[in-house]
Every structure is written in structure tokens, then in C-alpha cells.
């Protein structure tokens, strides 16, 4: 005992690590973990996404202690949180806007991957796990939006669950099974609450797999070339921990600005009207992060076709590693792809704008053109581009990008 006095804390850690190697695991994957030294700020968004997931889980658990999942009480229990629970308004506004920021951060993270070809070999499964996280997030966010039981909660739930009635033969049965009855009602609300509580923990599980897959081959980088040796890497800590903290500071400043000064900006006023099954709102719109997919759904004149198109818009991402035939990862060295990336981004934003508009007049035409382009980009342009595009010469290594010329 006396011998160890000077080095007490370390020996405790060693004692633990000898029996349960969590210390060396952390050291391996969050401290020494070799990272390309040329990552730019777009690589901040992965850790930010993880941060917002944690924020959502923590604030969500706090809210669940005061929320009542019953059609007669849900709306007023939210108002109870906003008025009577200590700092309830803050917790609820953080949770509400946290969902939006989680999506903003994840969408930027995805577009980062698209630009720098992060989905290409050997990172296909890493990409797949990311898409699964996105799908789970969408399900979670959709069910969370139903819980306040406002007008948009109710009618959004009605529209989206009704999509399943497009399935031939069994559609009606599936919808009633989802509802637990003959319309969106109390059984629907209470199962959505259960699943809204459960799914985030599944997301945590998939995030762990996402990180394991990431750490197997390491991060991609802005040049999109593999690291040639230790001179191309730096340890994660302190270099990227401090950079991530700086990014987090910027993100939190923007986030809390919205939370404190415009907390309802990203929401819809109709959701402060209690749900009324007898009164349909003039325009039913989903939360902003679903709008591009909502536009694709409505671009197809046939209900089943629309549903298939909407789901395909995400499932096509699973095929992306093989649809993109180019051997070069980063758009930096792909002049045509670089241009088309921005065209695709604008197309996605146009889809979002169309999703917020009523399906009438020229909005329908624009929606159809934008939807067609979405799929043309993935299914026609990307496979062909790999064969025709003349790429710029790649640098020989991350440390000596100039030598390539």
C-alpha cells in the first residue's frame, strides 16, 4: 500500500483495466486513435450529431417524467411542463429544437459524405449504418411530433400512417394494426410514446456500430486518398478533441440563440391548437426535415407509386457505393461531379420548398421535375459519370499534396 502512495489513481485504473479493459479501449479509440491530419470543419458534424443525440435522450427522459400519453391529457401535460415544471419550458424548447438541429447536423454530415465520396470502399457498411441511423431518426422524430397532440400532430399522424393503406390487399389491415383501432386515437398515441422512448436507444446501438466501422479503416479525408504512413496522421486527442469542442461551441451558440429567442420558429403554429379529429387544417405539412420526402411522395399521381418513390429516395442511398462508379473519392478531383453535387443540393432544397407548398398549379410541375432529377442523379448520372469524367491527378500523399503537380 505505502509503496503505491505516490501513484495511487493510476494503480486503481490499472487494476480495473487489467480486469475490464475499458481504459485501454478509450485510450485506443478516443485518445491515440490516429486521424488524418487534413480534416476540415465539415468533419465536425459527426461528433456534433452524437452530441445532439445525447441532448435529445437526456431532455427526453426529463420530459417523460411529466408528460401524460393520453388523448385527453397530452396537450395540457405539455402546457403543464411549460408553465409549472421548474425550467420545463427550457427543457421542452431544447428538446423541440434539438430535434431540428439533430437533423440539420446529420444532413450536413450526409452531404459531407456525398461530396468527399466517404461511402466508397472500404466504407460501404459504415455508410449503410449511417442510413439506418437516419431511418431510425425519422421514425423517432415523426412519433415525437405526435406526442403533444396538437392539430399537426394528429393530422400528420393520420396522413403518414394512411400511406400504408396504399399497400395492395393487406394495406387497410396494416393501417388498423398500426393505429390499434379504426382511426388515430389513444392506442396510437400510447404506442407512439413507447416507440419514441425506445428507438433512441436503438440509435445509440447503431451509432456504436457506426463508430466501430469508422475506426476499422479510419476517417476519410478531404483529399479522399488513403494515408500512406504515420506522417499523414495525428492522434485524435488533443488535436480533434479541441477542434470538436470549438465546433461544439459555435453550434451551441446558434442552437441556444434559437432556443431562447425564436423557440417556435421551426415549428408550426397549428400545433398549439389541441387536436380535433373533426377539423382538418388548411394545409397539412410535416416538420421541415421531412419536406423533401413529402414533395417526392406527392410528385407521383398514384398513391402507391408516391409511397414507393418516397421510400426509394432513401433506399437508393444504400446502393450509392455501387452506383457511383468513379474510383476517385473526393469531389476536389472530380470537376463535373463537383458541379453536379451542388446541383443536387439545390435540387434537394427545391424539393423541400415544394414540400411546404400546397400541391397545386406550377408547384406540381416543379415538384415532378425536381423528383425526377433526384433519381436521375443517382441512377443515371453517377453510374455513367465514372466512365466519362476526366479526373484531376491525385496527390501522392496527404503530407505532400503539392508533389502531384
Amino acid at each position: 500500500m505505502k509503496k503505491n502512495n505516490t501513484n495511487n489513481s493510476n494503480s486503481v485504473l490499472e487494476w480495473i483495466d487489467y480486469r475490464l479493459p475499458i481504459i485501454s479501449l478509450l485510450k485506443h479509440s478516443a485518445v491515440d486513435y490516429p486521424t488524418p491530419k487534413n480534416l476540415n470543419y465539415w468533419w465536425n458534424f459527426g461528433s456534433l450529431a452524437g452530441f445532439f443525440l445525447l441532448v435529445q435522450i437526456i431532455t427526453g427522459i426529463m420530459l417523460s417524467m411529466h408528460y401524460t400519453a393520453h388523448v385527453d391529457h397530452a396537450f395540457s401535460s405539455i402546457e403543464h411542463i411549460m408553465r409549472n415544471v421548474n425550467h420545463g419550458w427550457l427543457i421542452r424548447y431544447v428538446h423541440m429544437n434539438g430535434a431540428s438541429f439533430f437533423f440539420i447536423v446529420v444532413y450536413i454530415h450526409i452531404f459531407r459524405g456525398l461530396y468527399y465520396g466517404s461511402y466508397k470502399a472500404p466504407r460501404e457498411l459504415l455508410w449503410w449504418l449511417g442510413i439506418i441511423i437516419l431511418l431510425l431518426m425519422m421514425a423517432t422524430a415523426f412519433m415525437g411530433y405526435v406526442l403533444p397532440w396538437g392539430q399537426m400532430s394528429f393530422w400528420g399522424a393520420t396522413v403518414i400512417t394512411n400511406l400504408f393503406s396504399a399497400i395492395p390487399i393487406i394495406g387497410e389491415g396494416v393501417v388498423q394494426w398500426l393505429w390499434g383501432g379504426y382511426s388515430v386515437d389513444n392506442p396510437t398515441l400510447s404506442r407512439f410514446y413507447t416507440l419514441h422512448f425506445l428507438l433512441p436507444f436503438l440509435i445509440v446501438g447503431v451509432v456504436v456500430l457506426h463508430i466501430v466501422a469508422l475506426h476499422t479503416h479510419g476517417s476519410n479525408n478531404p483529399l479522399g486518398i488513403d494515408r500512406k504512413g504515420p506522417q499523414d496522421s495525428i492522434p485524435f486527442h488533443p488535436y480533434y478533441t479541441v477542434k470538436d469542442f470549438f465546433g461544439l461551441g459555435v453550434a451551441l451558440t446558434i442552437f441556444f440563440f434559437v432556443v431562447f429567442f425564436a423557440p417556435d420558429y421551426l415549428g408550426h403554429p397549428d400545433n398549439y391548437v389541441p387536436a380535433d379529429p373533426l377539423k382538418t387544417p388548411a394545409h397539412i405539412v410535416p416538420e421541415w426535415y421531412f419536406l423533401p420526402f413529402y414533395a417526392i411522395l406527392r410528385a407521383i399521381p398514384d398513391k402507391l407509386g408516391g409511397v414507393i418513390a418516397m421510400f426509394s429516395a432513401i433506399f437508393v442511398l444504400f446502393l450509392l457505393p455501387w452506383l457511383d462508379t468513379s474510383k476517385v473519392r473526393s469531389a476536389t478531383f472530380r470537376p463535373i461531379y463537383k458541379l453536379l453535387f451542388w446541383v443536387f443540393l439545390v435540387d434537394a432544397i427545391i424539393l423541400g420548398w415544394i414540400g411546404s407548398k400546397p400541391a397545386e398549379g406550377s408547384y406540381i410541375l416543379v415538384g415532378r421535375i425536381a423528383t425526377s432529377y433526384y433519381f436521375i442523379h443517382f441512377l443515371i448520372i453517377l453510374p455513367l459519370l465514372g466512365y466519362f469524367e476526366k479526373t484531376k491527378p491525385l496527390p501522392s500523399s496527404i503530407s505532400k499534396p503539392v508533389l502531384a503537380e
Binding site: K37, L248, T253, F260, D264, H268, V285
Partner: protein, 250 residues
């Protein structure tokens, strides 16, 4: 870089355009005491608004989510609040004979509804349900401006417009509203001596209803300033550390 800038501008415009779908005229802008980052609630105005609400609006509209005790936020003390509450009768808990008697409301009760239920409200109002007003400012786009415009926006229906049982108001989506013009000026005699013009009454009641919708507004904005200042300083120090640690890389 230009493309990024373009994308950002486009996205902002798109988010602003999101919820502009409505048939009513765009509300007139007014500079309320609670607007802006440093805005705070004019408590005298909110108290006058409570008077307008109690003497006019409360004939048909409720404030379901609000408790009398919350009135402390706009500057009343407990005995004043008890005096306000006791004007209203509320169902007591069943007594020893199992009968439910009425009693005067007190400090801890919620605002008493003018009607016992939605059906009773509808039958007294030509089948239209006067909505609960606790959250009305949040439940309408640009709520405070909308409400002010609506209350000032009653007009005779133009030639050829059939309003049926309703009234013409150009700020109402669809331009026909079931509620007759509620305020004309001089509807109340303000306890603090302020002249009760129509404009004054409207601003006061909108201020009051903004408070009922967002009782946290003042606290939110004042803590917001502190949090943002803290975050800016913290972020600045993270930036310095980042630059220092990365100095030797390359």
C-alpha cells in the same frame, strides 16, 4: 463559395416561405414592448389587458391552461389575486352528502371557463366555438400582430360578399369571422386612468394574451442573453486553444 452563399440565402428564404400559406391579409406590424431580443413585457399594459379580458373577452373565451396564481408574474400580490379569483364560481369537490356545490375560485385555481363544456359554448354562439385564448398568440402565425390586426380589422363587407351569419374581417383567413367586433373603444374604464381608446385596449389585451401564451418570455430572454454571452466567450477560448494546439501541425 458563391454557391454556398447562394444555398444559404435560398434556404433562409425557403424556411421563411414555409408557413405563409393563408388567405387572410398579412397582419400589420406593430412594435410591442416584448418584441426583439431585449424586449420585456409591459406589466401595466398586461394588467389593463387582464381587465379588458375579464370585462369583455371572458364572456365567451376561456384561459384553460392559466392559473390565477400565475398573475403574480404581471405584478399582482396574493390578496389582489384572491380578489380577482373570487368573482368566479367553480365546482367544489363533492361534500359529505355527495353533492357538488359551487364555491368562489381562489389563488390556486385555474381560470374559470365561461361555459361548462364545448357544446354549451357552441349553442350560445351560433354553432361556432370561441377558442380558448391561453395559447392563441402562439397558435397563429405572427400571433401578436395578427391578433392586433384582427381586432382592429372589422369593416363592412364589400359589395357582393355574403358573410352569412358572420362578420367581415380582412385579416381573418377566408375574410369571414364568426365573432362580432368585440372592442370599439371605451369598453372598459381603466383602473389606472389610461384613456381606453380602441387602439389602447387592443394593445393591452394582446400584451396580456402574449403573456398567457408565453409566461416564460421575460425569463427566457434575460437568461438567453447571459447564456449567449457565456457561449461566445467559451467558444472564443476553445478557438484560441485550437489554434495553439494545432500551431505545429503541417
Amino acid at each position: 463559395m458563391k454557391i454556398i452563399l447562394f444555398t444559404i440565402i435560398f434556404t433562409t428564404l425557403f424556411i421563411q416561405a414555409l408557413f405563409s400559406a393563408s388567405d387572410g391579409l398579412k397582419p400589420m406590424k406593430y412594435n410591442f414592448s416584448f418584441d426583439g431580443i431585449l424586449g420585456s413585457l409591459d406589466k401595466n399594459s398586461a394588467q389593463r389587458g387582464l381587465q379588458v379580458f375579464t370585462e369583455v373577452c371572458a364572456a365567451c373565451h376561456g384561459l384553460n391552461h392559466l392559473a390565477y396564481r400565475s398573475l403574480e408574474d404581471i405584478g399582482y400580490n396574493k390578496s389582489q389575486i384572491n380578489n380577482i379569483a373570487k368573482q368566479f364560481l367553480i365546482d367544489d369537490i363533492p361534500d359529505e352528502n355527495g353533492e357538488i356545490k359551487k364555491r368562489n375560485a381562489i389563488y390556486s385555481d385555474k381560470f374559470v371557463n365561461p361555459y361548462p363544456n364545448e357544446e354549451a359554448a357552441k349553442v350560445s354562439n351560433n354553432g361556432a366555438y370561441p377558442p380558448d385564448l391561453t395559447l392563441i398568440v402562439k397558435a397563429r402565425k405572427d400571433g401578436a400582430n395578427y391578433l392586433r390586426s384582427l381586432l382592429l380589422g372589422y369593416e363592412d363587407a364589400p359589395e357582393g360578399v355574403d358573410v352569412g351569419e358572420g362578420y367581415y374581417n380582412k385579416y381573418m383567413p377566408g375574410n369571414i369571422i364568426a365573432m362580432p367586433q368585440p372592442l370599439y373603444g371605451d369598453d372598459v374604464e381603466y383602473q389606472d386612468g389610461t384613456v381606453a381608446t380602441l387602439e389602447q385596449e387592443v394593445i393591452d389585451v394582446v400584451t396580456f394574451l402574449t403573456w398567457t401564451a408565453m409566461p416564460e418570455l421575460e425569463k427566457r430572454k434575460s437568461s438567453g442573453i447571459k447564456v449567449i454571452i457565456f457561449l461566445l466567450i467559451m467558444t472564443f477560448f476553445f478557438f484560441l486553444s485550437y489554434k495553439k494546439i494545432w500551431k505545429d501541425v503541417k
